[in-house]
């Protein structure tokens, strides 16, 4: 084992250099002008918002089948973003058919990663995640024609 001795001043200087480099990478993802600091830019980025996408859905689910999910996303930020992943929250999937269907929708969402869904600054757009949802044979008869709400987390980064 090799031990390298450095002075406290050298160690702090090293940390300073590394921190500046890493923070600069963080800024680059957000800034179009290159100005500002990592903290300032990160704090001004607003979360994406999701709206009801039921009107855009296509009826393609039945027991044993897979289907698509519609996501209506708004980017409130003054810069374009790229959505890279969509993951289901712990909250249960529900339907517009009431308790009997909700008790056994049979619907499962497969978390999506490696996506490249681009959204312009300030824009609202509806995306389709093909094959992201499936329905098992456990789906209750009352689920026919149902519109399902899938609580998800969307993750993206600036795409400036």
């Amino acid at each position: 084992m090799v031990t390298i001795r450095i002075s406290r001043k050298a160690f702090v200087l090293f940390l300073l250099v590394v921190a500046v480099v890493v923070a600069s990478v963080g800024v680059a993802a957000w800034s179009t002008s290159g100005s500002g600091t990592a903290y300032a830019k990160a704090q001004t980025a607003s979360s994406l918002t999701l709206a009801d996408a039921s009107a855009a859905t296509t009826a393609d689910l039945y027991p044993g089948a897979t289907g698509s999910v519609k996501l209506k996303v708004t980017n409130p930020n003054p810069f374009p973003i790229r959505i890279t992943s969509v993951a289901k929250q712990a909250t249960a999937i529900t339907s517009d058919k009431g308790a009997a269907c909700n008790a056994s929708t049979g619907v499962t969402f497969t978390d999506q990663s490696g996506l490249s869904l681009d959204l312009a600054a300030g824009a609202t757009q509806t995306f389709t995640l093909a094959g992201a949802v499936g329905m098992s044979n456990a789906s209750d008869n009352s689920c026919q024609g149902a519109v399902f709400s899938l609580p998800v987390d969307v993750t993206g980064a600036s795409n400036a």
Partner: protein, 133 residues
């Protein structure tokens, strides 16, 4: 000096997360829709001894695409009472015909209902009466 070092370490931990925008969508975050099964076809029936072969055409979902299965029922043609159906025609069938064996003597009518697991469509009309001697 120590405070400065701690500050730098904090910056190291926080900076890599600066590129992510996340959102908790809440209910309604994503949407998907299910199909609806349509109505069964009116079947034909042909008796041969104690066997009756029932055949029907494919049913579809209201939104398109064939139903994956069917349920066949047999009724007493005179009383309209639902009967127990033989094994080869019971349960959910994936084909478009079945042959019921050991059918009791009498006059019967068959119906077909589209099915997908426990989903059921609308039962179709009764086919022409079939007499088993």
């Amino acid at each position: 000096m120590r405070v400065l070092a701690i500050t730098m370490l904090a910056a190291l931990l926080v900076a890599p997360t600066a590129g992510a925008v996340w959102s908790r969508g809440g209910l309604g975050g994503g949407g998907a829709r299910a199909k609806t099964l349509g109505t069964g076809a009116v079947p034909t029936g042909a008796a041969s001894g104690k066997k009756v072969t029932v055949a029907w055409t494919a049913s579809t979902f209201v939104e398109g695409g064939n139903a994956p299965g069917y349920v066949v029922r047999r009724y007493n043609a005179a009383t309209g009472v639902l009967q127990s159906i033989g094994a080869a025609c019971s349960g959910t069938l994936t084909g478009l015909s079945c042959t019921e064996s050991n059918v009791p003597s009498g006059t019967w009518q068959y119906t077909v209902t589209p099915a997908a697991a426990v989903w059921r469509g609308r039962e179709g009309g009764k086919g022409a009466a079939v007499t088993v001697a």
